[in-house]
Symmetry: D2
Subunit: 311 residues, 4 copies
């Protein structure tokens, strides 16, 4: 399908359910997609960081895109991450995920290598020139250790290289500069600015963002859809209340013992535990080498769900 321009609303980064032996759990993935569609989301982002893209083999990645695209059958646009270190490797992923039917690709700055703004620009220009679908920039300094400057993003938007930005940098000043800059230029009216934050969707929409890509949207898509609707209606007080409820729920990402595991194990483990406890997926396993949550930690996830009225 053709991607709306701009893409707006809630576009959750879809978790990738795994079986106990770490294969993609296709029936659970389909149930999760149904849960999100039923929740009223506006698009799906597969193979993002919350999807454990960094942990999925090429075979897994293809299966995920094919499953989601096939099951949706055009009901919603599908963005797919093409997450790899540099241009040539990213281009391979672009081919795989677009062959499998993705409507857009989402691409970070180069990583692992030492990079430079000129190289980042060259990277996006090359990827866009060879991609059959629109390219979104994925700003994720915590993973790639460089930051996409607003000026560069707007320049690439004006060139037609970028169709949108998913900003998970937490740098609100730069985010706002992209939003305001994009609004000020009629030539990039279709450019989509999406926040990757779970915690400030109301603020992002208030400054003019188009939508959100919240990992927590897997667990509570209805909440984020409601939140975006309240923002659009200008009902900022109720939006804030909904956002604060979701902030409380987000506390689940810290259930994991930091002496025993990293932030990814804890955060993605919590999302999957929540989906498991809510009966949406069959197994809460995360990919290797992430450390599983303990029974007690899973129990604490349940308390977050209960407190948010989700259990």
């Amino acid at each position: 399908m053709t991607l709306p321009a701009p893409l707006t609303g809630v576009v959750p980064p879809v978790c990738t359910p795994l079986t106990p032996d770490r294969e993609v759990d296709v029936p659970s993935l389909i149930r999760l997609v149904d849960h999100l569609v039923e929740g009223g989301v506006d698009g799906l982002f597969v193979l993002g960081s919350s999807s454990e893209a960094a942990y999925l083999t090429d075979r897994h990645r293809k299966l995920v895109v094919e499953t989601v695209v096939g099951h949706l059958a055009g009901r919603l646009p599908v963005l797919a991450g093409a997450i790899d270190m540099t241009t040539p490797r990213v281009l391979d992923h672009v081919r795989y995920v677009t062959d499998a039917g993705a409507d857009a690709v989402v691409v970070t700055a180069p990583f692992y290598t030492r990079t430079h703004p000129a190289e980042i620009a060259r990277h996006y220009r090359l990827v866009a020139s060879r991609s059959p679908v629109p390219v979104f920039a994925y700003d994720l300094p915590v993973a790639v250790h460089s930051k996409l400057d607003a000026e560069l993003v707007l320049e690439l938007a004006a060139e037609g290289v970028l169709a949108g930005l998913k900003d998970s940098s937490g740098d609100e000043g730069n985010f706002r500069a992209v939003v305001t800059g994009a609004r000020a230029r009629p030539d990039i009216a279709g450019f989509s600015v999406l926040t990757g934050s779970e915690l400030v969707v109301d603020s992002a929409l208030a400054v003019g963002a188009d939508g959100a890509v919240p990992g927590l949207g897997n667990v509570d898509p209805h909440g984020y859809v409601r939140l975006v609707r309240l923002c659009r209606e200008g009902d900022w007080a109720r939006a804030r209340a909904e956002q604060e409820r979701l902030c409380g729920l987000f506390g689940m990402v810290r259930v994991g013992d930091p002496g025993r595991m990293g932030g990814s194990s804890s955060g993605l483990g919590a999302f999957k535990a929540a989906l498991y406890l809510r009966g949406i997926i069959d197994c809460p396993a995360t990919a290797e080498p992430q450390v599983p949550l303990s029974a007690g930690e899973v129990e604490r996830v349940g308390k977050f769900l209960a407190a948010a009225g989700l259990l």
Copy 2:
């Protein structure tokens, strides 16, 4: 072939010559291998950072390993990088490169994801349990943004998980702790400790390291072989002079204008320009999105070669 235990001496990380359209230049790669063999090196490390592994597609990577293994025909051991973000993806590379004949694999800590020492240990244990060949740890904080602690390295060595360490961290205290720790334990007598530095090979060997993996060894393998021989003979004064000559030559990695390109473009571009100027490879191109050196910058590389007596 079976890997010596410990692996010792000079094991250059082999550059990957590319054609102008960024395909692997097989004839140049073979000439480079001959140059290194003729230089007297003790093994080859393909698909490392200096090989632009981060920029090579899976197809390119396989072609590199097959070419080098096939051409060497057992004359030297071949270590191959299995550079990717997490365990499942690394395991795919382990399969590819060992199918292609690699004698050992070289594996970094997980990257892109936020990681934790417990996850790093789990990663190496899983990789080793499924690898048909020995596993070397590759300590490269500048790329993966975490550091391999000496204690963890020695623990994994004692478990038989790791066969060696390639340390490109620049943390000399931790490096020494690994060397001294390994020497003190007869149960890990075959553990190989290699420095990834171009600049302190004499110091590393003086404290007991087994060898070096210098990127600059592509350009001047004879120099590094001479240096290691002088160290083994205890001729520290001449070793130091040789090392200082190589330090001077290494200055080439800074020819690139930092306002126009990153450190990788400059450093790998200089190595390839030097190989091109020395007549070993046909084209100095680096992979995308690296920025090419200008004519003037290449000329400066030539001056470094001349000053070191290599042109």
Copy 3:
């Protein structure tokens, strides 16, 4: 005077005008204070980062506090930075600035030393136990290289150690957690949460913050006062327009050539150039070793002022 609890509104970090030979320019400082008072601000923060506290000697610091406190004569509360590396040194500054009449002190986490959350907590507890006035935490990771976690801030607030937070971390999720946490606890109803950002004051107030400490408020106090009033009135559309005007003005901080100077020289240099061009201070000099703006760079500051209707 007694500090309002919570302190609300606009509390600009007052620039420190210098003479050409880098002494505190007292007449200019008094004119700047008058400019801010006339602009309608709610308090003044002296000896913060925008005040070049890091560059002022103890003698300069005392003179600044005495001048501002003396000139205000109780018309507005004065917060003073007690910026130094560790507890004993901070306590000396606390004594100096409170002897000079400051109504509250603003204190960062320890820096220069490697620190730990337990040591940060200990630091604030000790400082508060010996300070005759309320203590505000100053969260400034770009300077001190550690981050104040929301949980720790709220814990110290509940203990009565902290009277407020000035958050210049740019971490909007953590900021919101402090605001929401503080609002949820009647026992810390007087705790003041202030954003240090110039760019998202509307967002910060929308999520419940008490006020702002914008460096750019030196240049355009009227703008920030208007912005906060619009937020309080719930006129979010006009607040956003005002904020966006101020965001445009803030672009001045990047006039300095990054090849020639750092971000502090450029940003603080621009603020002082703007105050100079607006006729408020006599000399735009910044403290050593900051690099002065060129004539052309100062001219560009003028264009930002003109575009914002301030010249």
Copy 4:
């Protein structure tokens, strides 16, 4: 006294003994100085990082310099840290410590502020132009978050701005570039290059360094003096054995529980516990807000001493 040029040998950064109520313990400081003199060291560095300079008030700092200079009465040169954020504040310390008799000052790059190489150069030029005694650069990225490039250090040496370098960066390649560069230029023959590492003094001297400033030299000055003598005699095998013994002893810096305290509390706490256990100082207290070692942790320090033959 006049500083030797170059300064060579062992110049320990003298710990600052404190009383239980955190005043400078003058009798213990004098005993520590005697212990170091008796150990055969070549100079003393007071008010460095291992001296807890960051934790000492100006009053404490003056007392330390006066005590040490007075007690030595010219028997050894005294270098004093002038550790503060920027040029004007550093210049105040330069005046205090030289008034108190220091023979040289040791100065880091600016910190807390965002800095730039041009500003670092300006900083050292200004400090040197106003210092009555020679200035040593102190390269300590872990504290100041910027790195002194070899090229800049050599340029400032050639200008007469810097008399020496104390390199605690752990970057052995850059260190070697300074050493080799200095040796190659007769015009800076008196420039002193000292390593701040405890762990690679033999390597540093082998590449041509003049001496070492090891924090652990407080605990075992005889060991470091012996080590330097063996290096000078070219007895590298015995030097290595001595260095490895000292590396083992250095393990004490990790006795502190990282869940309970930072690296400074643990490392400086261990040095002081060792001095206390060896009967040299009366109280092992570290300055606030450092966390004290537990009884069990102190006991482990004792085991390190025993293993090294020091108890």
